[in-house]
């Protein structure tokens, strides 16, 4: 395969490794011929083809740091999903599917950026933010960073162990079932919570379902964050 393959061209990736991330999500490490790295926050498009020629296409954020040799994606299995169940339940080492990318020039963070960083994730919205956190750690960046993560219950937290040592303040709010003995936030992100938690004045990145992202972005603006300093990425279903 030509090393001059453009990001926009579809090429075959091979699953190099697959591991459960949570009971309903898996992280896949991919062998992508001609892979030339990515920026933290970018995503891949994937395309699966059935025997009858039926094709389904989705986008998944890259979870791994730019410094890692092989890209990783973390896929959450969606109820009634068509593609995500393949990744989480069926895929195994050696399987091949098509990818293109990486894509994204706006929802990206480089360690050369020096402003404070406030990251807000709804559920699987943590994936691109994790790439940013890993990149920051790898580069030895001292930029102040705080992550606010909203999930339904503890089983929905990706990278739980790694978050403890990633070098960021991590605040979690559980919206459905907090763990036993939890004395932290146990509700949807609201203005009061952001007032207490937000690191304002630097750059904010918000990622998750559309209504979550828009609600959080609106609240950050209310709290004084300049709209130009908020970057958003909305996830859908499928």
């Amino acid at each position: 395969m030509s090393s001059a393959t453009r990001a926009t061209d579809w090429r075959f990736a091979t699953v190099a490794a697959i591991a459960p991330e949570t009971p309903r999500a898996a992280t896949l490490t991919l062998d992508v011929p001609g892979w030339r790295g990515h920026r933290a926050g970018q995503h891949l498009d994937v395309r699966l083809t059935a025997d009858d020629g039926y094709r389904a296409q989705r986008s998944y954020s890259i979870a791994s740091a730019p410094e890692d040799e092989k890209p990783q994606i973390t896929v959450q299995e969606l109820e009634d999903g068509e593609v995500s169940p393949w990744f989480v339940q069926v895929a195994r080492e050696g399987d091949r599917f098509e990818v293109r990318g990486p894509f994204g020039g706006w929802f990206v963070w480089d360690a050369a950026q020096t402003e404070p960083l406030f990251l807000v994730a709804g559920g699987s919205g943590i994936v691109p933010l994790m790439s940013m956190l890993r990149h920051r750690r790898n580069q030895g960046s001292a930029v102040p960073v705080r992550l606010l993560l909203s999930v339904r219950e503890p089983d929905d937290v990706f990278y739980a162990r790694e978050l403890e040592t990633i070098g960021a303040e991590v605040v979690i709010t559980y919206t459905r079932r907090p763990p036993a003995g939890w004395d932290g936030y146990a509700r949807r992100v609201d203005r009061d919570m952001l007032q207490e938690v937000a690191l304002l004045g630097g750059r904010a990145y918000v990622c998750g379902p559309t209504t979550f992202v828009e609600s959080v972005a609106d609240l950050l603006i209310e709290l004084g964050q300049a709209p130009a300093d908020i970057r958003t990425e909305r996830f859908g279903g499928g």
Partner: protein, 87 residues
């Protein structure tokens, strides 16, 4: 059906633009608001991708795969601008 944003259209837009499109700034021909393509509202309608101005909801751009053709229409964009330098 909730909309996504311009980030979701990055792959498709890369089929027609040589420069990374989501960081480009587009001016809406309807209301004159400018902003990054990444912040446009994106509707994946099955029949095609529709980008709308987040300020006034007017259609900025439409892209579809019709058989063996890729078709794009962007009357709704008055101007689109990229930073110079490597694409």
């Amino acid at each position: 059906m909730d909309h996504l944003d311009g980030n979701a259209a990055a792959g498709e837009l890369s089929e027609v633009f040589t420069r990374e499109a989501t960081a480009a700034r587009a001016t809406c021909a309807g209301c004159g608001t400018s902003g990054p393509v990444a912040e446009a509202m994106v509707y994946e309608a099955g029949m095609g991708t529709v980008l709308r101005c987040p300020a006034c909801e007017a259609v900025l751009l439409r892209l579809a795969h019709l058989g063996d053709e890729v078709v794009m229409e962007m009357r709704g964009v008055r101007v689109i601008r990229w930073r110079s330098g490597p694409g």
